[in-house]
Amino acid sequence: MKHALSLKIGPATFRIGSAWRQPVEALAALYADYPAPSVEVADFTVRLEPAGPLRRWLRPSIFITGDHGLADAAPMSLSHGLLAAEMGMNLQMALGWRRHLLLHASSVEKDGRALVMTGESGSGKSTLAAQLGERGWRLMGDEFALLDLATGMVFPFPRLVSLKNRAIDVLAAEVREDRMGPLLAGTAKGDIRHLVPNGDAIRRMDKGAMPALLLFPRFGHQTDVRAVGQGEVFMRLTQASTNYVALGEPGFDALTHFVRNVPARAIDFSSGEEAIALVERLWEEPA
């Protein structure tokens, strides 16, 4: 395609092709500190194509596809090209990755052990992970946690953190301006700005960690901590995984092992500072 770029994020490599210059330039700027892929054979191809015959020039809009695509994916405005590229990569992972059990979860690491947080969009898991990543934890990823089928370790997928709406200002106040991407106003999920993970997160993106705690965060409620039974954890994680069914028995075994060995809590909170204090407290508690 006319404009192209290769990226390596955690264990996965992507070849991104675009009909327009802008999305590739935006990606190149924000992923500048990531190591270049050592081999150029990509696990996945992402394509950003014009959504119709005239849509390259006239009210340009992007159809996101690639090796794996959704026929009914909604086209996106070229001004949201960076988001389109990120969604394209997520789509390939969600539909095509088979080397780990993929959990729709954020994760951070401290002292060689990982904290995994899963929940719906808007639960606060992304923001919380990003904030912890600036407070002595290593950010492993805000979107997917990769559970190794053989060892039970969690591996990072530290793509750009996608900050939405109110979370934008929270993080923008904490990090250097050059780690923040452009403001993408009025996307399907509201305003979005991307955050480049810090140097530690990028340098150690191949290093896994044993999971030590699973949290189900929920933003916007009175502070509360509840135990969650293993049966419920299992069911919720099957729903949070995009490749659980595709992996078959090894996926079941890995998930069962995770559920049996990692303590789980549901936490409610009404502010970021509250959530951080809660996480630090639960992390220090003996399981």
């Binding site: 191809t45 090796d67 088979r98």
Partner: protein, 329 residues
Amino acid sequence: MSAPLLVRSLRDPGSVATLDAQGWNALIAAARAERLIGTLAFRIGKRTVPGAVRPILDDARLDADREARQALWEADRAAEALAGLDMPVVLLKGTAYAAAGLRAGQGRFIGDLDILVPREAMDPVEQALLHAGWEWVKDDPYDDAYYRQWMHELPPMIHAGRDRMIDVHHTVLPLTARQTPDAAAMIADAVPITNELCMLSPEDRICHAAAHLLADGDLAGGLRNLWDIYCLLDGVDAAALDERAARHGLRPHVRQAKRLAAALYGKGARLTAWDRIVAARLLARDGWGRERRKLLRFAFYLRSHWLRMPPAMLARHLFTKWRKGHRPV
């Protein structure tokens, strides 16, 4: 174009040894787009490939294994649902190849479950499937009526619990097509796979695949269908096949399919001008996995409708679909 690279790699898997990273990217993208990545992985087997390629091929084989397992389970469920009807359930296409362990099934992507049943049994089959948890997909009355009146199959159904589609055929081409294959003979000569399931005879398998590729549809995904044909031809008596094709009114299609299969996947063949046009359509895929040759593809899209129905009916059909907002490209 990278479809020719895909074809060459399937024909001669040893040739991948010369590929550089760009070549691999193009090959993998085309193979995924044509849904031949599992077949390619199977063909390449244990040959030495770059370190980054190996896990991609291993993943593709894993996916193909799962596809086959799911397909066989669907076939088993359908057989169970139809057991009371005392009639043969003939598996078609991918599920049949997988169930019988045919070479065409190795690494093959399998989408829907396709079965062939006698036309007079369509009503009880439909009732039995509905009773066993399958439900309608199409909610448009025009589409539903169109299927029932003119097509060779029931409107597609999906299983509510397992989310898998079933296509119930009573013959192998739409009723409006020029050719009228002898479906009763196909069912009568079907060969058993298990106690409950059977598949078409070796000659009929090729007739069906050739009809599907060349007398129906717009050749989208045709490289995979042609690979099926290439594999199915292995060991089939040419005279018996020709005779059988004539009986179904498919002799030109089967002969063309043989020429194309030999030209693309085998030892080569003399191609007619029309063969070359079809081959150009089949190979319209670039190194990013995109479809190219837009005009040629559109011409084949028009042809697929032309094959399917007489002109006045076609005009009415296209007008109805257009009013409902359907656009071809």
